[in-house]
Symmetry: D3
Subunit: 144 residues, 6 copies
């Protein structure tokens, strides 16, 4: 088994807010993260599988890139996550929640393919903070 990781970038705006809280509570908890601001997100998508004996590749790299562009980048790049993405009307657009959504978007597209599966979503919000999500598979606890 080999893991292959493709890295892409998208730029988006967001603000932190819990719609069930008062403005004061939001301000107290989220501070300046409650202002509209933005990031260059760096997304790393890891797919795991056996390399094909014919191609020596776990997955065609161009197909993987196209799939990430279509499912993720075209959806979030140059967008205001709170305003433009219905999912974040309800959920706070933290990197944690964003990573889970990205997992779901990509897993749905990778599921039917043979010989590999989505392994990890790593999302960098800036040069000093990133999150990792490995999905909710059985055996997750033993796998990290």
């Amino acid at each position: 088994m080999i893991q292959v990781t493709k890295r892409v970038e998208f730029c988006a705006a967001h603000r932190y807010a819990n719609p069930r809280w008062s403005e004061e509570e939001n301000r107290r908890v989220f501070g300046k993260c409650g202002n509209v601001h933005g990031h260059n997100y760096i997304l790393e998508v890891t797919v795991e599988g056996e390399p094909s004996p014919d191609t020596g590749m776990v997955m065609d790299l161009k197909a993987l890139k196209d799939l990430i562009i279509e499912a993720v980048v075209d959806r979030f790049d140059h967008k205001d996550l709170n305003q433009d993405v219905p999912y974040f009307k309800e959920k706070n657009p933290t990197p944690e929640n964003l990573a889970v959504v990205i997992w779901e978007l990509l897993e749905a597209r990778l599921e039917g393919r043979q010989g590999h599966r989505l392994h990890r979503i790593r999302l960098h919000e800036n040069g000093s903070f990133f999150v990792d999500y490995y999905g909710e598979h059985a055996g997750h606890a033993e796998r990290i």
Copy 2:
């Protein structure tokens, strides 16, 4: 003469728009940059001078950092440039225009100090685009 460069980061949202243009014209020229989105801006401030014989420094590094934080980072970090910064009601918040504003904010604060002067503003919008501004000094054309 030695040049010293300090690098800081700030996160902001923006959208490109010319208020004198129709929506169609804005969309045609700016494309997806006309949507609210955001960046982790990396700012590099270069100050030029002779190192002090007493300290071996062109300028106290902590003083330079504090000055950049006060004049620039506190003003733009975790902000929506179009909404929160009056200057960008009129001017499009491109890195070019942002670099000129940052130059003006910093030069005003560095002017009275002896032995060094602002040399360059470099502003990275993301990992593949940055701008440089050297001010409008006499002799600028000969100096780079």
Copy 3:
């Protein structure tokens, strides 16, 4: 479960020495690493947990940063590890030993908090060498 990673930097001096060895033995084993020198250490602290339904965060990012500054950075930054940190009177200040100490300092502060736990310490000594430490939890062997 999601893992969040915060990155900070600290600058320190050190030299390699085993106080139970002769000077010749130290020189033979450690070579130029036995001279006083220094590094910009890059520390990555990973905390694992479920994002809060209220905030969408595994842990408040500012609280995590403050905790790392107080427990680690203020202790090691701009220090001579051999001279200024009692722990390294006995232990050689290798990245391996430093990572274990940092784990212990942070775990003690994170233990009582609900919903997350320290997952990994990654410490970069320079651009081409880093170490990872995952603590000594039961089940460690199965977890990476």
Copy 4:
């Protein structure tokens, strides 16, 4: 247990081809990757073990570097992988296949040593694509 990772670089040319396929089939599957081109490969070798109580190190860092240079860098650096490396007469020189070869070259040299073992090969082909290989040890599935 601590993991230590050493990073080195080597520059090589390659082209993708399956010798059992027609030229058309190769062109259809591999596209421009079928042309001779090249990369600066960044290799990260991770070794796992207990730090020695005498040295505080999992493995002498210079010995690890020398071993990587001798086994890997001297073999692949400034080479055309397809022409100069017999192994890639048969196997397509993808990062996946390259990582497996590098694992085998290093594991053979690390095997007899006490107290540590090869843990992971990470190979970056460029700034946006890398692969990970953890070998085929029993218990691999539980370890990642």
Copy 5:
């Protein structure tokens, strides 16, 4: 005047050789650089001009990127510079010579445009070596 810099990547193979020299002379001067190998080249193109009062941009960034892709990347990416680029039948494909060619390819396409001009080509061969070329304009010596 503001300078804007766009960064792109291309991957190519090359080998150093002087066709007027004997094999021994080539081997003696170029050593392992005489073997076919390759690099991920990072190209930074700098264009200088006054930002447009309408757009706040020195040059439309997408137009600049498209022009670089068409003139440079499509010509050199996934190529063997010695075999596939006629210019390098005669000239050694060093970064120095490559930078001059890239200057000429881009300047020809930028010349007719108003309000900006090509300022610098920076070409990184790997993480520790790059070259800068500023063209051969009158006044070059005073401008850097």
Copy 6:
């Protein structure tokens, strides 16, 4: 004219002190920089010249690297600048002063060679601070 830049790394310890000042004055001015600490310095050496028609190179890259290793890296790497380098008994080991010394060490070795000359020393103390020094040539002010 083309400029070629070679990047190397060295690790050193230092502390800021003015031997003519009282301990209190040193503490007041230099703060925690007065403690022994250290850095991974990244040095970029730029040499300017015409590429040789025979080799296409401004200067043989291996010769440049060897010269930097001999003149600079072997002198400062894995050293305590204040204790081990006589020059810094008198001068404060700031990056500014270090850049000037490095210039002098390299210029003396490059002077006799034909067709190129030292253009710039850039020295990074860490990921957010660097200095540039262009020597004291006649015409310096016009050249940067």
